[in-house]
C-alpha cells in the first residue's frame, strides 16, 4: 500500500500521480483517503467498495464470516475470515491490485463505487451473499434483478447440540444428528431508508441469541425453544432500532421482517414477524408452510379468500407486524413441529415465495433443484435464488436451507409428536402446535396463537 511512499499510481487509470495528491490528474479518480500517500484500495468505511470474490460461486472461499458457534469441521471454519464483517466491508488495506475489475467491462473500479471506464456500479458484497454454517446449513441472499440494493439479510448458525446420552468426551464432528441448525432471514422494508442496515443488524442479533441459547435449552423442550425464539425476536428488534442513531426521530424508521427457524434433533421451531416464511419440506410426507404471514394477504386468506386471489390483491404485501422503531408489538409468533422423517427446513424472504407460494410448489421447486445440483444446501440455495431471478427477480431474494436428518436423536425422543409430554400449548407462550399432516395452505383450524 504505502510502499516507499514516493511513486503513487492511480488505481483507475495507472497514471503516476504526485505525492500527496488526492485525485488523479489524468482521470480524476480519488486516490488515497485522507491518511497515507499510497492509493489504498477500499476505504474500510466505504460500503460500496468491491470485494474480491464477492460473486465467487465457489462454496468455501467466497463465504464471509459464518455463524458464531463452532463449526467443528476445520475445513468449514477455515472459510470464516475473522476480519470480515457481515456487511462485507473489506479490511483496510485490500490492495489496489486486488480490487476486482468491473464485471461489465473489466475496467478498474474507482473509489466512488463505479467503474472508471464504463460507469457500471461495482457490485457490493451485499448484492450477493452466500453463507454456510455447517455442511448441512447454508443460504444465499441476492439483490434480485430489479432492485438496486439488497435489503434482505441472512444469518445462519449450527450448534453441536447437547447430547444427554453422551459422556464427557463429545464427538468433535458436527454430526447432523446432534446439531441444532439456526436459520434467520430478515427483509428490510424498502420504503423506509436504511432498512438494509436494520435488517442485517436484526438478523445477526437474532442468530447470535439463538446460537448462544442453544447450548442451554433442552433439545426437545418446545416451549423453551419458543421462548428463545421470542427472545431472539426481541434482540433483533433492539438491534434494528439501534442500527441507525435517529431511528426514533424519523417518520419512516428502518424496519424489517423476521423469520427464524431452529431445527434440533427431533424438533423444529419457527418464529416470525412479517411475511418472511419458514417451510418444512419432508422427503416423504406433506410439505408445510410453518409460518403464517403477518400480512394483509394472510388476513384475506383467513377470511376465506383463496391463496392465489389474496396474494394478487393490491395490498397483499402490506405487512401487519415487523421489527423497528415504529413497531408496536415485537413478540414473535412461534410454531413447533416434530419432523416425522428427513427433509429440509427452508427459510426465505418474499422474493422467493412471490414466485412459488404454496408449500407444494416450494417442495416441487426444491425437488427439481436437488435433481439438478444435488443435496448441498449452498448449491440448492443458489439454484433457488437463480430460479427466482429467472422468474423476474422483482425483489431481493433470500433462501436458507437446513437439512434435517429426521433420525431419532441419541438418547431417544418420541417419533410420534402426539405422545410428547412436553408439548403443552397451555404453558408455552405463543406456541401453536401443528402436527405434520394437516392440510397445507389452509389457515389453522386448531388453536390459534395465544395472545402474546
Amino acid at each position: 500500500m504505502s510502499g516507499t511512499g514516493t511513486a503513487v499510481v492511480c488505481p483507475a487509470c495507472g497514471e503516476a500521480a504526485g505525492d500527496g495528491a488526492r485525485f488523479c490528474e489524468a482521470c480524476g479518480a480519488p486516490l488515497a483517503a485522507a491518511h497515507g500517500t499510497g492509493p489504498d484500495g477500499a476505504d474500510s468505511a466505504d460500503p460500496s467498495s468491491a470485494v474480491p470474490g464477492s460473486t465467487d460461486p465457489g462454496p468455501a472461499p467466497g463465504d464471509p464470516a459464518s455463524s458464531g458457534a463452532a463449526s467443528p469441521d476445520p475445513a468449514q471454519s477455515g472459510a470464516a475470515s475473522p476480519g470480515g464483517s457481515p456487511e462485507g466491508t473489506p479490511p483496510a488495506g485490500t490492495a489496489v491490485d486486488g480490487a476486482s475489475p468491473c464485471p461489465a467491462c473489466g475496467g478498474d473500479v474507482a473509489d466512488d463505487g463505479y467503474c472508471a471506464q464504463c460507469g457500471a456500479r461495482a457490485p457490493v458484497e451485499r448484492d450477493h451473499r452466500e453463507e454456510r454454517a455447517a455442511p448441512h446449513v447454508a443460504g444465499v441472499s441476492d439483490v434480485g434483478v430489479r432492485r438496486r440494493r439488497n435489503e434482505d439479510a441472512l444469518a445462519l448458525g449450527a450448534v453441536p447440540g447437547p447430547d444427554p446420552g453422551a459422556t464427557g468426551g463429545q464427538a468433535a464432528g458436527s454430526s447432523p444428528g446432534e446439531d441444532v441448525s439456526v436459520l434467520v432471514v430478515c427483509d428490510g422494508v424498502s420504503s423506509a431508508p436504511d432498512s438494509d442496515v436494520a435488517s442485517q443488524a436484526a438478523a445477526t442479533a437474532a442468530r447470535d441469541t439463538l446460537v448462544a441459547g442453544a447450548a442451554h435449552v433442552p433439545a426437545d423442550d418446545a416451549a423453551a425453544w419458543s421462548r428463545l425464539l421470542v427472545a431472539a425476536g426481541h434482540a433483533a428488534d433492539d438491534a434494528a432500532r439501534a442500527a441507525v442513531d435517529d431511528a426514533t426521530a424519523r417518520q419512516d424508521p428502518p424496519s424489517c421482517t423476521f423469520a427464524a427457524a431452529v431445527a434440533g434433533p427431533g424438533l423444529l421451531v419457527a418464529g416470525w414477524l412479517g411475511d418472511s416464511r419458514v417451510y418444512w419440506l419432508p422427503d416423504a410426507g406433506t410439505p408445510e408452510q410453518l409460518t403464517e404471514d403477518d400480512s394483509v394477504a394472510a388476513e384475506l386468506m383467513a377470511d376465506g379468500m383463496s391463496r392465489a386471489a389474496a396474494e394478487r390483491s393490491p395490498q397483499a404485501h402490506a405487512i401487519t407486524r415487523w421489527l423497528g422503531a415504529d413497531a408496536e408489538d415485537t413478540t414473535a409468533r412461534t410454531v413447533a413441529t416434530r419432523p416425522g422423517g428427513p427433509g429440509w427446513v427452508l427459510a426465505c424472504s418474499d422474493g422467493l415465495w412471490n414466485y412459488a407460494s404454496a408449500p407444494e410448489a416450494v417442495a416441487d421447486l426444491l425437488r427439481d433443484a436437488v435433481a439438478r445440483v444435488g443435496d448441498d444446501p449452498l448449491a440448492l440455495s443458489r439454484d433457488l435464488v437463480a430460479w427466482a431471478n429467472a422468474s423476474g427477480g422483482h425483489d431481493n431474494v433470500t433462501v436458507a436451507l437446513a437439512r434435517v436428518p429426521g433420525t431419532a436423536a441419541a438418547g431417544g425422543g418420541p417419533a410420534d409428536p402426539q405422545d410428547d409430554p412436553h408439548d403443552d400449548a397451555g404453558t408455552a407462550p405463543t406456541v401453536r402446535r401443528r402436527p405434520p399432516g394437516s392440510l397445507p395452505g389452509e389457515p389453522p383450524t386448531d388453536t390459534g396463537p395465544s395472545a402474546p
Partner: protein, 425 residues
C-alpha cells in the same frame, strides 16, 4: 485555503430506453482569500475607447472612471492603462517606458492618473488591436497568472471586419479574463458579448456615462476578491457516453460545451476562470446507451480542478426503472435552468427578429420570454422586458411590441438576457 464543493441535483431515473441524463451541479467556493493570496500576483489592465465618437462628456466620464479605477487598484497589483481606437496604445506605463506593466504604488498611481488626464479622442474602433496589446502587456510578466482586464467602448467595432475581432478573441482566449462595458447606445451587444463570453467575463450596458466610475469600482472589487485564479470544471463520461452540453446557468448563462479541452479520452475540461467566495450552477447533459431495466450506472463525474488537482467531485447517476412515478419527475433544478436557458435564447431571438423587422416572430419570442421569466421568478428579466413589450397576459405570454421602445431599452434587455435567477430551494 479555498474549499470547493460540488452538489448534484438530478432525477436519476430513466424510463425503459431512456438515454439522456440531465443534472444541475452547484459548485461553491468558500474560504477563498483575496486575489494574490494564492501567491502568484494579480494584473489589471483598463482599456478605454478613445475613438472620435467619445469626444466630449463621454471621454471625460471615461477618464474619470479610469482614475477611480486607479484608486481602487491596491499597491502591489500589476497594472497598465490602454487607450484604444483603430489602433491600441499603451497609456501607462508610458509608451517609452522600458517595462510594459508595473506594480501599483503611490508614485505610479499619480503618474498614471496624469497620463489618463491627457487622453484625447480621435480615430475609429478596432477592438482586436486592444485585445492583442493587452495580451502582449500581460505576457511580459509570465509569472503573474491572474489576469483581468476591463474594456470600455461606446461604439461599433467599425474599423475592422468582424472576423478580425473573432480571430483576436480566439487568440487571447484563456490568457486573461475580460469584462466588457458598453456606454450609450451605439455599441453592438453581440460584439461585446463575444468578447466577454470567450474571456469569461460579463457584458453590461452603462446608460449614463456618469455611472462608469462606479461600475469600474465594482468590477475591480470583484476581480480582486478572487483568490483562486483558475478553476476548471472537469466532466468524465463513461465509454460510449457523449456529453450533450455543459452550460453555466447561474449567475449567467454561458455555453461552455465548445470550450472543452481533453484531459483523457473520457475526461474533458472546461475553463471557469477565477473564483471568489461564490457559487455557480452548471447544467450538464449526457447521453448514454440505454441499459435494461434495473441497471444503474454513472452517467458523469463532475469535478472541480484547481491547479491541476481535483478538489471537489459530484456523481451524476443513471438508473433505469419501470416505475413511472419515478421516471416522470423532472428535477426542479433542471427544469428551472432549462427554462432560464430558454428564456435567454427567447429574448435574444426576439430582439434579433425585431431588429430584422420580423415583428410576428419577435412578438412570439418575447411573449415566450415573458412567460418564462414569470414562471421562473426572474424579476430582472421581467422588468427589462416590460420596457420593450406591453404585457397583456404574463401567464400565457401575450404581449405587444412597444412602439416607442428605445434602443437603450432593447440593449439593456439584450445584455440582461443571460442573467439567470437562482432556483428557489
Amino acid at each position: 485555503m479555498a474549499t470547493f464543493r460540488a452538489e448534484v441535483f438530478q432525477n436519476e431515473f430513466l424510463p425503459d430506453g431512456g438515454t439522456d441524463v440531465h443534472a444541475i451541479v452547484t459548485v461553491s467556493a468558500s474560504g477563498v482569500g483575496g486575489a494574490g493570496t494564492s501567491g502568484a500576483g494579480v494584473a489589471e489592465i483598463v482599456m478605454i475607447d478613445t475613438s472620435g465618437s467619445m469626444t466630449g462628456p463621454m471621454l471625460a466620464a471615461a477618464k474619470h472612471a479610469a482614475q477611480v479605477a486607479l484608486d481602487h487598484i491596491p499597491d502591489g497589483t500589476w497594472f497598465a492603462i490602454v487607450s484604444g481606437s483603430h489602433v491600441a496604445q499603451r497609456v501607462f506605463p508610458y509608451p517609452n517606458a522600458p517595462v510594459a506593466i508595473v506594480q501599483m504604488e503611490p508614485a505610479a498611481r499619480a503618474e498614471a492618473k496624469r497620463a489618463v488626464a491627457r487622453l484625447s479622442a480621435q480615430g475609429g474602433t478596432a477592438m482586436s488591436t486592444w485585445l492583442r496589446l493587452a495580451d502582449q502587456i500581460f505576457a511580459t510578466q509570465p509569472a503573474v497568472t491572474q489576469r483581468h482586464a476591463i474594456l470600455l467602448t461606446d461604439g461599433k467595432n467599425e474599423s475592422e471586419p468582424r472576423d478580425q475581432l473573432t480571430a483576436a478573441v480566439t487568440a487571447v482566449t484563456g490568457r486573461f479574463q475580460c469584462d466588457a462595458r458598453g456606454v450609450g447606445e451605439r455599441w453592438q451587444v453581440d460584439e461585446l458579448r463575444e468578447i466577454a463570453t470567450a474571456l469569461l467575463g460579463t457584458v453590461e450596458l452603462i446608460a449614463n456615462p456618469a455611472d462608469i466610475a462606479e461600475d469600474f469600482r465594482s468590477l475591480l472589487a470583484a476581480s480582486l476578491s478572487r483568490g483562486v485564479s483558475d478553476a476548471q470544471l472537469r466532466v468524465w463520461t463513461p465509454q460510449g457516453g457523449q456529453v450533450l452540453f455543459v452550460r453555466q446557468v447561474a449567475p449567467t448563462v454561458e455555453d461552455l460545451t465548445a470550450r472543452r479541452t481533453t484531459v483523457t479520452p473520457l475526461v474533458g475540461a472546461y475553463p471557469t476562470g477565477a473564483w471568489a467566495d461564490e457559487s455557480r450552477d452548471y447544467h450538464v447533459a449526457v447521453r448514454l446507451p440505454s441499459k435494461p431495466l434495473g441497471a444503474e450506472q454513472l452517467a458523469a463525474r463532475v469535478q472541480v480542478a484547481v491547479g491541476g488537482e481535483v478538489v471537489a467531485a459530484g456523481l451524476v447517476k443513471a438508473a433505469w426503472s419501470d416505475d413511472a412515478s419515478l421516471t416522470a419527475r423532472i428535477s426542479p433544478e433542471v427544469a428551472h435552468y432549462t427554462g432560464q436557458a430558454e428564456l435567454a435564447s427567447a429574448i435574444q431571438e426576439g430582439l434579433a427578429a425585431k431588429a430584422a423587422g420580423d415583428e410576428a416572430t419577435a412578438t412570439v419570442k418575447l411573449g415566450r420570454a415573458v412567460q418564462l421569466a414569470a414562471e421562473t421568478g426572474n424579476e430582472e428579466a421581467t422588468s427589462k422586458l416590460r420596457r420593450v413589450v406591453e404585457i397583456d397576459d404574463e401567464e400565457h405570454g401575450t404581449v405587444r411590441l412597444k412602439r416607442g421602445a428605445s434602443r437603450l431599452d432593447e440593449m439593456a434587455l439584450d445584455t440582461a438576457s443571460t442573467k439567470t435567477s437562482r432556483v428557489r430551494r
